[in-house]
């Protein structure tokens, strides 16, 4: 009973929040609504017994990603309303809904037709969700995990390089650096 109430409350709130993100004209409202929606999605993860993923969702999305967006928005003019000229509204909405339904049918048809056996059972006696995720992550998924770490490192370096101006120069060459004028 509790699960049903929680599911419906969370789903209604998430849909409202993401509707604000998509249809709002002010980008600050959209960003705040996106942060709220991320928190409500972590509520679904807790309902489904994936505590580790719920905590990761809160930490990564509403912590890191939203901070990144907030800092990125300082570069842009966010006080103005977003002007958008849109043509062909009916085609747009019908196309997007049809394609979403098609994707779900493609994904869920094999699940219904074949009885999938679980490779890595998620419930073992006396072992919590975080522990078992660690066990599977560091045995079967070790190489993807390390690749994800390298990918995060590469994206961090590229983010720093792209935004900051003077990072392509050598910082130890002081004469060259001072000749170039003011530091930004």
């Amino acid at each position: 009973m509790f699960e049903v109430i929680a599911f419906y409350i969370f789903s209604i709130l998430t849909i409202i929040m993401f509707g604000i993100v998509v249809f709002s004209k002010n980008s600050l409202y959209a960003m705040s609504a996106l942060a709220g929606g991320m928190i409500f999605i972590s509520g679904f993860f807790f309902l489904l017994g994936a505590e580790f993923l719920g905590v990761v969702q809160i930490v990564v999305y509403s912590g890191a990603v939203m901070a990144l967006y907030a800092f990125g928005m300082m570069f842009f003019d966010t006080t103005r309303d977003v002007k958008e000229n849109i043509h062909y509204k009916k085609i747009l909405y019908s196309l997007s809904i049809i394609s979403a339904v098609l994707i779900v049918i493609i994904m869920s048809a094999p699940i219904y037709s074949a009885n999938i056996e679980s490779l890595y059972p998620s419930a073992i006696e006396g072992v919590g969700n975080t522990q078992i995720i660690g066990l599977v992550l560091f045995t079967k998924y070790l190489i993807p995990f390390e690749l994800a770490a390298v990918m995060l490192l590469v994206s961090m370096i590229s983010g720093i390089l792209l935004v900051s101006k003077r990072m392509d120069m050598n910082l130890t060459e002081k004469d060259h650096y001072e000749e170039k004028g003011e530091i930004i």
Binding site: V21, F52, Y61, Y69, V82, I97, V104, L119, A148
Partner: protein, 100 residues
């Protein structure tokens, strides 16, 4: 009783909201927000399937999707800031350089 179908339907609704955003938005920052919605709706589907089939692989895929989303935003926002410094606009139509 909440079944797997409920979660999949919710995932469809969120995914279609994100798709409407991707097709409707002309501001590039808003386009990034919509891609976040798409990735999150897929995450809900993965975790629901993983819970109802008792398999942990779905949760691990959702974990990797979160990692991919984080790095995508870092690179994308860097490119967006560069583009804004160059042209002074983050409208999608300003990216149209080839008149086809």
């Amino acid at each position: 009783m909440i079944t797997l179908t409920h979660y999949l339907v919710l995932s469809v609704i969120l995914f279609s909201i994100g798709l409407v955003g991707v097709m409707r938005r002309k501001n590039l920052l808003m386009l990034f927000f919509s891609t976040e919605i798409l990735l999150n709706s897929v995450n809900i589907g993965f975790v629901a399937v993983s819970h109802y089939y008792g398999d942990l692989s779905g949760q691990l895929f959702a974990f990797f999707i979160i990692a991919v989303a984080a790095s995508e935003i870092a690179v994308g926002l860097g490119l967006l800031v560069l583009w804004y410094k160059k042209t002074g606009s983050i409208n999608l139509d300003s990216l149209q350089m080839m008149k086809g």
